[in-house]
Symmetry: C2
């Protein structure tokens, strides 16, 4: 397996997720060695949830899986870039296509884009 | 100023840098509150170097500055996305356009792309 440098950040590495066709950045997650191995072996983007302190297959609850089309690593072997097919059309847990739906303009936050799904319907909360 | 959540990672937030025209992901850096304020006020991508433990204006040595064209933040206010104009055509300190010039294929690393500059000429090392 390709060796990455997990030492810089207490066993975690940031992983950028980008749409493989539009190149839109969808989200950023963190991987521990287990999440990295699972991503490589299953072809589904898998992260380590810092909040839940557990492995997290992206889309396991919502069905909005990320199918890995290409994997790149950076010059220092300490950052991952995944190019994925986003199932369900949205990566963000509150329904937007990308988690980066807030733009800073003149010091204020502006919402860009529209939600693709209603989180209440998807997560049944 | 827009408030970000610097608490999750000991005062640092990951910042993804993307080419504002091609949407190619160029690099990932980390910002502390000072780097974030400097990026907003100067319009030049500024990070916190974990290695040097100091503020780091990207391109200050090489001349390969990143001019910020758009700033986005994510749903949780804990990740930054910068869309930039990459001066000099290359973001990576070893001469490649993007730091993500290594692709994982069948468990092995393949180099994609060609260096834009020779680091020895740029850094005079």
């Amino acid at each position: 397996m390709v060796t990455l440098d997990f030492n810089k950040m207490n066993g975690l590495i940031p992983a950028i997720v980008q749409d493989y066709k539009t190149y839109e950045v969808l989200m950023l997650g963190f991987m521990n060695p287990e999440a990295w191995a699972a991503t490589l072996s299953t072809g589904k983007a898998t992260f380590y949830s810092r909040t839940r302190k557990a492995l997290w297959v992206k889309g396991q609850t919502s069905g909005h899986l990320q199918i890995v089309k290409e994997i790149r690593i950076d010059c220092d072997d300490d950052t991952i870039l995944l190019l994925v097919e986003q199932i369900g059309g949205a990566a963000c847990h509150i329904g937007y296509r990308s988690c980066f739906f807030k733009k800073i303009e003149d010091g204020a936050v502006q919402i860009i884009g529209k939600p693709v799904f209603n989180p209440r319907e998807v997560y049944h909360k």
